[in-house]
Subunit: 349 residues, 2 copies
Amino acid sequence: MSASFTIALDAMGGDNAPAIVVKGADFARRRFPGVRFRMFGDQAIIRPLMKRRKRLREITEIVHTEDVISNEMTVSVALRKGRQSSMQLAINSVRDGEAAGVVSAGNTGALMAIAKLTLRTLPGIDRPAIAAIFPTIRGESVMLDLGANVECDAENLVQFAIMGDVFARTVLGTVDPTCGLLNVGSEEMKGHAEIQQASATLREMGDAFSFHGFVEGDDIAAGTTDIIVSDGFTGNIALKTTEGTARLIKEFLGDAFRSSLSSRLGYIFARRGLRKMRDRIDPRRYNGAVFIGLTGIAVKSHGGTDAFGFANAIGVAVDMAANGFNDKITEGLEAFGRFKPGPVEAAAS
Amino acid sequence: MSASFTIALDAMGGDNAPAIVVKGADFARRRFPGVRFRMFGDQAIIRPLMKRRKRLREITEIVHTEDVISNEMTVSVALRKGRQSSMQLAINSVRDGEAAGVVSAGNTGALMAIAKLTLRTLPGIDRPAIAAIFPTIRGESVMLDLGANVECDAENLVQFAIMGDVFARTVLGTVDPTCGLLNVGSEEMKGHAEIQQASATLREMGDAFSFHGFVEGDDIAAGTTDIIVSDGFTGNIALKTTEGTARLIKEFLGDAFRSSLSSRLGYIFARRGLRKMRDRIDPRRYNGAVFIGLTGIAVKSHGGTDAFGFANAIGVAVDMAANGFNDKITEGLEAFGRFKPGPVEAAAS
């Protein structure tokens, strides 16, 4: 890909910022030739980190900012005091068309609120959602909402489904992705009113949209569908439960390999295979939760990630920008009759 | 323990019933001397299975039933047509005081509905909940509700917390268990109105109840609290997400060990340690979801379990019966002022 656009980076957000941001940008530069960066942060700290990175310097414009939104700030404080912060100014540059997307590893709540207020929602979208990619037994799936909306009505869920469809096609490259609604059972009558109404609406969208029906918690990792749609409360808990379970098993697995001399030896023999496995579920590979449904692309990197993880978050923003993600959401809304009453496009399923 | 009471068994429920029920009862008999069984099912099938189990025969009364509630039946059909079923009659025997508790591996929805209608809720409890034990990095925790109530108000959640407290003390033997409310963040203002109201009420219960505050999805496996309280929708999805994630990692781990000759060799050396690990998260060990809040003890075994798993589900019922679980719930409701306006007991925390 020889994309040619600019990504805004909040250099001051994240546990090890700006070092991981600079180093991550340098990784991403090699992976995505043609991409340029606008890096917002304290130039006195950033410049020395760029010293030995000549190529990165050539494609990066540093925009000096004094203020930083810390992780400890509440959303209201961040909104009030963060007007000149690296995060706000990076988001502004997307609004102003200077950058195609923004990546930040900073305060999640603040990023969500500022992005929403600054970028606004896309026409036809009532609420933005947080989406992320999950590893599954079958490959990769996208799940949303992961926490932007604690409560959702049926129409929100339907919009999430359409945005998820565009995400799966655009970022994951899935052909005719299938979509499931997260519920407590697969039978029609299961769940609360919002989810039943959303299911009915998605069924009515016909063959152009591959609605699988309800899926359960274990279908996420099974990869039963390419898209999992949920309200933000449930989705957030599913996401974090996955992380917690993976950590538990990692801990128990460590205990198993330390339990005897023979087991330690076994670990040494199996090490290479185990590393491959670790890579398959490496959280850094799946770094980059996306706020979708806004007029600009905003990607949230995990706060504790390293440069490799940050580069992956940049990669998500690049994929979305390069593939015209937001235009495709608008097209999707129109195609499924959720935007304006136009003709429903018939697509091969 | 030399408990002396009777457990009713639905011999016809479960994928491999009645074989796993008979064999599971025989395992449980050895573990819990003094326990007797009333086994409800088709005696023409059960009797041959009992032939070589003299000791089990001595403590088991077979109650012949013709009808069976299948897994495919909807709840309404099960209620209408299942009046003479093994499940209904087994539950009746708890209602009639002939058995201290009932265990079934049959249709979950039917068991829930029949148990609720037949046994009714305990005084002071508005809705029963499903509780189960989870393995954690720190040991074991109990989580509820896992699916009995799709929507819950604040008072339901408070009652679940008190029932969870009694469960942790009674079944897990935890001294002064801590309780967390499952939410999307630990800050006070996170989540929806019901959960915030429940949190405020639990805080007001004072030192006698160790309320930790909000916990997130990853706190379940971390064992941050001994009790995790949730509405049934979220709890069910967390439970099944855990199962799905464990299956995904097991699959990837298998791939890792099969990936090369060296890895295969590594597996052989580490096998014993890995088996220990597998035992720690063996779903059969954690078999036995309990409907709590009813006037009788009702335990749901996983439908696909084997005799070992079924014996563990019997074990949960035995633990609860032996420890006067339901009396303790009533005491708990009184102690925390949720039942009648009595004095709040001060307990050391």
